[in-house]
C-alpha cells in the first residue's frame, strides 16, 4: 500500500488546484452584484463540516452537510433536478 507521502505525490497538485479554484469561486461570488440563494450558505456550511467532521470522514461530513435530512416522502416533485444543496 502507498504511504502518506505517496498519496501526496499522487494527488497534492490536483487537490491544490481544486482548493484554489474553490477560493476563486468564492471570491467571484463576492465580487458580483445581488443576493445569493441558499446554495452559497450551504457551501460555506459544508466547508465548516470539512474542517470539523466530528468523527466522520471529511467526504461524508461534507456530503451530509449538503443533504436533505427530512425523513418523510414529499407530496409531489416540483422539479426533476437537484440543486446540489438542500433548501429546507
Amino acid at each position: 500500500m502507498p504511504d502518506r507521502n505517496d498519496i501526496l505525490d499522487l494527488y497534492f497538485m490536483d487537490a491544490r488546484s481544486k482548493l484554489i479554484d474553490i477560493a476563486a469561486f468564492l471570491d467571484r461570488v463576492d465580487r458580483h452584484e445581488g443576493d445569493t440563494d441558499f446554495r452559497h450558505a450551504a457551501f460555506l456550511d459544508a466547508m465548516e463540516a470539512l474542517k470539523n467532521p466530528k468523527g466522520k470522514s471529511r467526504a461524508q461530513a461534507v456530503l451530509e452537510s449538503l443533504s436533505d435530512h427530512t425523513v418523510e416522502p414529499i407530496e409531489a416533485a416540483g422539479t426533476k433536478g437537484a440543486a446540489g444543496a438542500y433548501e429546507g
Binding site: L63, H69, Y86
Partner: protein, 268 residues
C-alpha cells in the same frame, strides 16, 4: 485484462463508444432502463424502448464482441404519474421472455415523492413475483441520503433477498448504509455529480472489496464510457494488485449478475 461494464446506457452512445470499450477490454455490458432526458409522451414509447434494449442494442454490441444484457422498468423520473407508470409496468412481463433480460431496474427514487415510492414498491413486488434480481438508482446530490434510507426501509419491509439487490450510485455518506444492511453497492464514476476514480478507490479501501462493483453509467449527460478502465488504471497507481483489480472489475459483477437466470456469459 477484461472487464465488465455493469451499468451503461448505450442507447445514448455512439457506435464509436462500443468500439472504444471493446478496445479497452470490455467483455460484457449491462444496460438498465432509464430516463431518456425527456418524458415519453405515451406508454407505447416504452414499448419501443424495451425493443431497443432487448433486440437492437444486443445486436449492435455483438458486432464488437461484447455481450449485451438489460434490466427493465419505468424509471423514477417518469414514475411520478402512477397511472402512466402502471401502463408501462404491465408491458414488462411480456419482455421477460427475451433472452438477455437480467431483472428489474434501474428502479428507485428521484425526488423522494410518495408516488415514486409507491411505484418503486410495485416494481419490487414484480421482481419478487418473477424471482428476479433488482438494480436500484439512488437520487442525486442533496436527495441521495434521504432516498437511500427510504429505499432501504422499503426493501426491508418487502423482505427481499438482499444479496440479489444492488443499490447503485453510492457515495461516502451512503455506501456504509447499503453494505451494512447486506445489499450490494454500485459506485458510479460520473464526472460531475457522483464520484471520481480516486474517491471510488477510497471507498473500496474504506468499505472493503466485497459486494461492490464500479460502473460508468454513461448516458446522454457528461459521462465517460471508459470510466471503468480508467479507474482500474488508477487502482494500479494506488498499488492495488492484479487480483484485487480483477475481483472488483470482473469477479464481483460476475457473482452478482450470475444470480440472474438469463446471465450466461462465456467464461473468458
Amino acid at each position: 485484462m477484461g472487464y465488465i461494464e455493469p451499468h451503461a446506457h448505450m442507447v445514448s452512445r455512439t457506435t464509436d463508444d462500443y468500439k472504444a470499450m471493446a478496445m479497452a477490454g470490455c467483455e460484457i455490458i449491462c444496460e438498465p432502463a432509464f430516463w431518456a432526458g425527456f418524458d415519453r409522451s405515451s406508454p407505447q414509447g416504452f414499448y419501443d424502448y424495451f425493443r431497443q434494449l432487448t433486440e437492437y442494442e444486443p445486436a449492435r454490441s455483438a458486432k464488437f464482441g461484447i455481450d449485451h444484457y438489460c434490466w427493465l422498468c419505468i424509471n423514477p423520473k417518469e414514475a411520478e404519474d402512477p397511472g402512466f407508470a402502471r401502463e408501462v409496468m404491465a408491458m414488462i412481463p411480456d419482455f421477460l421472455t427475451a433472452p438477455t433480460v437480467l431483472g428489474i431496474g434501474e428502479i428507485g427514487l428521484n425526488k423522494n415523492t410518495k408516488n415514486e415510492l409507491a411505484i418503486f414498491e410495485e416494481h419490487v413486488a414484480l421482481a419478487q413475483k418473477y424471482d428476479l434480481p433488482i438494480l436500484i438508482h439512488t437520487p442525486h446530490l442533496e436527495d441521495k441520503l434521504k432516498g437511500t434510507k427510504l429505499i432501504i426501509d422499503s426493501l426491508k419491509n418487502a423482505g427481499v433477498d438482499r444479496g440479489r439487490v444492488i443499490i447503485d450510485h453510492v457515495e461516502e455518506h451512503t455506501a456504509g448504509l447499503v453494505l451494512d444492511e447486506g445489499f450490494w453497492a454500485g459506485m458510479t464514476l460520473y464526472p460531475e455529480s457522483k464520484c471520481t476514480p480516486a474517491r471510488a478507490i477510497d471507498m473500496l479501501e474504506t468499505f472493503g472489496m466485497e459486494n461492490v462493483w464500479m460502473n460508468s453509467a454513461c448516458d446522454w449527460g457528461i459521462s465517460d464510457p471508459l470510466a471503468v478502465p480508467k479507474c482500474l488504471q488508477e487502482m494500479k497507481r494506488r498499488q492495488h494488485n492484479k487480483a484485487t483489480i480483477e475481483k472488483v472489475s470482473y469477479a464481483n459483477p460476475m457473482a452478482f449478475l450470475g444470480q440472474s437466470k438469463n446471465f450466461r456469459p462465456v467464461e473468458s
